[in-house]
Amino acid sequence: MVEVLKTGLYDTIQDLGRLGSQEFGVPISGVMDRYSAALANSILGNPSNAAVIESVVMGPHLKFKSNTVICVSGAEMNLTLNAKRLKTNVMYPVNTGDVLKFNKLSKGCRSYLAVFGGFQTEVQMGSRSMYKDVTRNYILNTGDVISILDSSETKIVSKRRNSKLFSSIKRDESHFEASELEVFRGPEFENLDSRQQNKLFNTAFLISKESNRMAYQFDQNIENSLKGMITSVVLPGTVQLTPSGKLIVLMRDCQITGGYPRILQLTENAVNKMAQKISGSNITFKGVI
């Protein structure tokens, strides 16, 4: 078990989401940055779909009530375990009573805490990812107690607690530092005139405060007179352009359909990179193929 002593800004349980349930209008959800979450899980030897805690900008304080092994990847939040500093992307054994604290953010935006075997919360429609009206809660709350596997229940944990086998993997730092995001041209891209297309690829877009698991937005606009369209399909990474000129980059909790022109589509990797950008930072779009 793990007890939430104090929540961060927005802590949720996430796995790779519920791809397959969109016919019921249910978003895919899942970890915002799949690269970092996969890294944390793989360092522990977990399957890639093991559930992790995703934290944004400010992480939680957690008390362990079981022995396990942990690994944190993604954003740097100056971790401490009982006041001792921990590194990201390294496997650590944790004992009953230990307190893990996420502190000041120094890099990226979202961190991922993986435990051995993944967090054992309720599975709804094939996934543990929290989402309103699908899972019982859509966010972690102070006082929540989350199930994990106990080392006394499994020999593998105790073996791994003493092993260097999965100790660390080198991380690609450009994942956090690069401001360039690779994109495909969207279905309605051609409806923009050449001046608008140029502006799209030559502007450093400033990420606005209204950015969350559903969508990212920017401070700059692209003036346009694009025709409205019949509601069509969208995906995480779809960039919509509203009549007022706002760009909306849909993220993991986005709806499955939308009626605004889809001018770009972020690559899988660009969605992961976007998830590590905080408001106030800049990004540019770079076309592929």
Binding site: G25, D133, P187, T231, V233
Partner: protein, 243 residues
């Protein structure tokens, strides 16, 4: 009839297929035949097929290596779709209470359209609506078939909290809010039935291609249905339509 379809890459792992851009049931039917053909006969590499009014997104498990091969394989599925057999669909009768207590915007629409509230209710309960797809919120049915006389613009500023079950009109569309949510549509009534039950194997009773008819109920009948749902003895009235 074969439609002229366009195929394009949407992302590394998805292909967008588009029909002529209009909302009609012939396109919906063609799309559902195609969707079935893909889901029944394609290999495991396709993990999800999502449709909207006249477009379909095919999502693959892995990055598509050879796009042209995949286009070709999808086109074969289109030709193989089974159009001789009619789609089996269901007609669901959804009870709606149009009482003033629920119909917060009945008066606004009635005054704006210069029609009596009773006439508004008659026009809303008259048609058989078609489910095109489910989106916006889990369990939110996109319905086609709203009487032109009831088209009414969305509210300038959305309400922060709309009650679960609210039946509403937004522009040329009508729908039911499956759960409490913010929303900008005009509320005309409330339905006591559940539109989204995530614990069930089929979380939504309706699927694309099914039909919906609204049945007006009194405040007392509304209360009685709420009780029946709580006791687990309520079933939505439905009949099978065989094409």
């Amino acid at each position: 009839m074969d439609f002229e379809l366009t195929y394009r890459r949407f992302s590394e792992r998805s292909i967008l297929v588009e029909w002529p851009q209009e909302i009609n049931e012939d396109i919906l039917e063609d799309m559902l035949f195609y969707k079935n053909s893909i889901l029944n006969f394609s290999n495991k590499s396709i993990v999800q097929v999502n449709n909207a009014y006249c477009s379909m997104l095919i999502i693959y498990e892995l990055t598509i290596d050879n796009l042209n091969d995949e286009f070709l394989s999808l086109k074969r599925h289109y030709l193989k779709r089974n159009i001789t057999k009619k789609l089996r669909s269901k007609l669901f009768k959804i009870p709606v209470c149009y009482d003033d207590e629920f119909g917060l915007d009945l008066k606004v629409i009635s005054e704006g359209k210069k029609i009596a509230i009773s006439e508004l209710i008659r026009q809303h309960t008259e048609p058989i609506y078609t489910v095109f797809f489910i989106g916006f919120l889990p369990g939110f049915l996109y319905l086609g078939g709203l009487n032109k006389g009831l088209h009414f613009p969305r509210k300038k500023s959305p309400r922060l909290q709309i009650k679960k079950g609210a039946v509403a009109i937004g522009g040329e569309q009508t729908g039911i809010y499956p759960n409490e949510s913010p929303g900008g549509w005009n509320i005309i009534g409330n339905s006591p039935v559940d539109l989204f039950l995530p614990k069930k194997k089929e979380p939504c009773f309706a699927k694309p291609g099914d039909k919906i008819k609204f049945t007006p109920i009194s405040r007392t009948e509304y209360q009685s249905i709420v009780l029946q749902i709580e006791q687990g003895v309520y079933a939505i009235e439905s009949e099978v339509i065989d094409g």
